[in-house]
């Protein structure tokens, strides 16, 4: 049963455009994450966010920014996409004191032409 929802499923865009991905969880968790998974399946944490604190992975380019309206939603905005941004973006959630058990959404596949 899906409890972490992501939209869109796919997005194709051109270099320089701005894109925004949405994520919502209905698990009552207080912590949400964005991961980037490349074509080799490498899974990299980009951000984690909870009610109190945004944790930014310092290797993430500044054109990426998370946006949260409440603890159940965490969106990801990319200001000016680059070809290397083509990947699957996975949203996940957990309880803050149980971050080791995360539930993933279905992902958003981004293709930058």
């Amino acid at each position: 049963e899906t409890a972490v929802f992501q939209t869109p499923n796919y997005h194709v865009t051109q270099v320089g455009n701005e894109v925004s991905f949405n994520c919502k969880q209905t698990l009552g968790h207080d912590t949400m994450y964005w991961y980037k998974q490349d074509s080799k399946k490498l899974l990299k944490i980009m951000f984690s966010y909870n009610n109190k604190q945004l944790i930014v992975n310092e290797t993430v380019p500044r054109r990426f920014s998370p946006q949260s309206s409440d603890k159940a939603h965490l969106n990801l905005r990319i200001k000016s996409v680059e070809p290397e941004d083509s990947a699957v973006y996975l949203c996940a959630s957990s309880h803050w004191d149980n971050q080791d058990t995360q539930y993933f959404g279905p992902g958003t596949r981004l293709l930058v032409l």
């Binding site: 080799k40 399946k41 944490i45 080791d100 539930y103 992902g107």
Partner: protein, 111 residues
């Protein structure tokens, strides 16, 4: 710097064999060691996990072996089935903190 190392990158076994996937870590504060699996076209999902108070955790055909002294842990999949074919990720986290994933092992089980 990769904090969780995983090997092999890919593994092929025949149906009925035991598949062994290995991971090692560097950070002594890591306290939780889960394995996630990801089937083609799907997102990762938690499979099994262990804490250092134990050196073994079993769940059906899946067993984690943990060696705290050597900072290594492995996933053994007994009686492998074609339906086990997936990418397996080991991960580690401190008592309170985010997961660090390994690079994944792509397992293929042939009938």
């Amino acid at each position: 710097q990769q904090q969780v190392r995983q090997s092999p990158q890919s593994l092929t076994v025949w149906e009925g064999e035991t598949a062994i996937l290995n991971c090692s870590y560097e950070d002594s504060t890591f306290d939780y060691f889960p394995w996630y699996h990801q089937f083609p076209g799907e997102s990762p999902a938690l499979l099994i996990a262990i804490r250092p108070v134990s050196n073994k955790k079993e769940d059906g055909r899946f067993t984690i072996f943990f060696n705290k002294r050597e900072k290594k842990f492995s996933l053994h999949i007994a009686d492998s089935q074609p339906g086990d074919s997936a990418t397996y990720f080991c991960a580690a986290s401190p008592v309170v903190g985010q997961l660090t994933f390994g690079r994944g092992t792509r397992l293929q089980v042939y009938a």
